[in-house]
Symmetry: C2
Subunit: 420 residues, 2 copies
């Protein structure tokens, strides 16, 4: 078979066209395809309608070597992906005995009788191979479509993201034999520099095609992505290297990480390596800071815990004497909260977010303009005063949380032991 | 002009086809169109490529009354939405003096000189009206396309979601005069009943077309959506009513809310109405429970705060004598944590999540099978033991959090004052 060079994604489901579900599956698949060096020029969303689904599938087969469908594999009458593929292939679905046995076994292992409507999940057509679904009742289909001397592949995957991810990685991807050997990608993650300022700084680099350089504004700062293609991955990486070196020299300390790096994971793993621990106290960030710190894998060997409470109340809870707020600056109060967290949880570092008055209460930040962040316990305490524009509260909490993580990560980088 | 009945969404940007950005804009727009009673049969994603963009736009204009484009309005060479529309319309873009003045003013108000590349954001074509962008430098376009006696509309909106939302609501939607008068939708949110069991229970209701009934598995339970169309919204609602009544009788206490209801908001507003308060202590849910509780608007008049710490350590921090874990059941320990949170934060109710050993630590739950949830402070404490399959930790934390919220909301519903 000729190699797969182009792919197309069709997301199936009326809920996608009603805006009730955000289509995250196709972003996942698009990223997987890009990593494998496959070009995806089109992605489509179609409702639960047989005619439009057939039309979309026929069009995709004309344009692309590989067509990925997600969704529409459920047991109900509006799950039409199997029907559409069968119609386009000109084949008739029949119940596959092996799939039926597996499906009935699956229900009986849950102590339930299989509703007869689920039987269509055991369908196959002659050109289709079933892809196992360890997480659900809908097997996928891998269909080989030959017209003349041209072979196309159709892969139908279930809609629930967890089922889709597992089936793609464990069963679809291994069968597709995508090479992925000719693409090199690197993402540099920056902070403290806006996207427009970055564009000025990078200048002509943004206009080159191979390697290409692109910028993306993200919650944790602007990401700069370099992508190069060549005959092999090694050659692609070689091609990218001069640009990467130039980017690193232009961006300097603005770069805080790369590729899969996440602030919370860098903080957790660095603390762990140095045998240090962190605790937190927060008001306006509303628990998002501790939720983010705790979400890093194995975070809890380094992150001791946190308290959500606002301002003076937090002090009381943390067993600190309540300061007369008037006598302190916002920075000082954030520092007192951080110290209190540090002592209460017996941690090396304390990290806190504070804001005055009602603005300091999570759920009430919409008008916040001034937030204070403190990191204490190091050789010198570090502070950050943040002005946050009026906006939706969730976005404000994210801003504060990211700022607190950046403050912590910057301190840990600066204070790296000499041998590192 | 004939009324707008069908729409199509084209999301522009290579980052969407590389899976680097999840396309949330089109879900937002699809929901807006559905609310207005407009049918969206197609949604498309296209990269930053002029030929494919023109192809997509021409195709969309043949099929649909209204074409919404998002993205590709930036200042750089790969922002091609304006170019594609101009080409399909057969018109030549020119700099609009008024837009240019506005754009230069925008930059100078930021104390910056306008890069010359931004000048293309001041382009217009004869068929286009500019849509103001209060949040950015890219004005939108509203284009009227007349072929024979048929008029189509093209609306080009900026890619950044915050700019898109504002421009859509304040400038595009008012000019489109969508009626929205002929659609009625109601979503009933359930818990404690699986999607497949629900399908059995609902039977034929799921096959009807108008009103239609559909089910969606969500983190907070299965949602059942009824949609009806008729000449007017009142008639559509009338048409839906018998089905809604039947659904309510079939689903009974499984229904915990409807439409925009969220568990955390229902809990916060109900506590507030009754003058009651809540505090929390959590281990395995990793701060997500308190983050969710605090995220409800005005939550903090009812939610006093929370602690993240695992098991026995939480007791110590909360000032409770540390229980010998061996002498207690998981339920009892969760109850002790909830009581401790209640006392520490002087709240009426305490809500806690607990798990044994390392499984009780956030960030380490991947193998958790058993989580205990307790709500104390009511007339009788309530407990829930939850078995959570091995999976990714974020999903597990969400399961625990949703279960804790369901436990709390169920208690508040049961204990409603007689007059309610």
């Amino acid at each position: 078979m000729q190699p797969i060079r182009t792919a197309e994604i069709i997301s199936v489901g009326t809920e996608l066209l009603l805006g009730e579900t955000v289509d995250t599956n196709s972003a996942f698949l698009a990223a997987e395809l890009a990593t494998a060096g496959i070009d995806t020029y089109w992605a489509l969303r179609v409702g639960d309608n047989l005619e439009r689904l057939k039309l979309a599938l026929s069009g995709a087969l004309e344009r692309s070597d590989l067509v990925l469908l997600t969704g529409g594999l459920g047991p109900t009458d509006d799950d039409l992906t199997r029907e559409a593929i069968a119609a386009v292939m000109g084949e008739t679905p029949e119940i596959d005995a092996e799939l039926e046995a597996w499906l009935r076994g699956r229900f009986s292992s849950l102590g339930r009788e299989m509703p007869e409507r689920n039987l269509k999940q055991a369908w196959l057509i002659p050109s289709a191979e079933a892809l196992p679904n360890p997480g659900g009742t809908a097997p996928g289909w891998l269909v080989t479509h030959t017209a003349g001397d041209r072979t196309r592949l159709i892969v139908a995957l279930p809609g629930p993201p967890r089922e889709l991810y597992a089936m793609w990685r464990d069963h679809a991807l291994p069968r597709l034999q995508l090479s992925g050997s000719d693409l090199y990608r690197l993402t540099l993650k920056t902070t403290g520099i806006g996207e427009s300022h970055l564009a000025d700084l990078l200048g002509d680099l943004l206009n080159e095609a191979n390697p290409s350089v692109a910028t993306y504004a993200r919650a944790d700062g602007v990401h700069v992505r370099v992508a190069a293609k060549d005959d092999s991955r090694a050659r692609a990486e070689n091609r990218a290297q001069p640009v990467v070196a130039r980017l690193r020299s232009l961006l300097g300390d603005h770069v805080w990480g790369s590729d899969e790096d996440e602030l919370n994971e860098l903080i957790a793993s660095t603390l762990r390596q140095r045998g240090l621990t962190l605790a937190s106290a927060e008001g306006p960030s509303g628990g998002l800071l501790m939720e983010t710190l705790a979400a890093a894998p194995d975070a809890l060997s380094a992150y001791r815990g946190g308290v959500l409470a606002w301002a003076a109340q937090a002090m009381g809870i943390l067993g600190m004497p309540r300061p007369a707020e008037q006598g302190h600056s916002g920075e000082e109060l954030a520092g007192l909260m951080a110290d209190a967290a540090r002592e209460t949880f017996t941690a090396d570092f304390g990290l806190a977010t504070f804001a005055w008055g009602r603005a300091g209460r999570p759920g009430e930040q919409a008008g916040v303009s001034e937030v204070f962040i403190a990191l204490t316990g190091g050789t010198t305490p570090t502070f950050r005063r943040l002005e946050i524009p009026a906006s939706d509260a969730a976005w404000q909490r994210e801003r504060m949380t990211v700022a607190a993580l950046h403050l912590t990560w910057a301190y840990l980088r600066r204070s790296a032991p000499a041998e590192q």
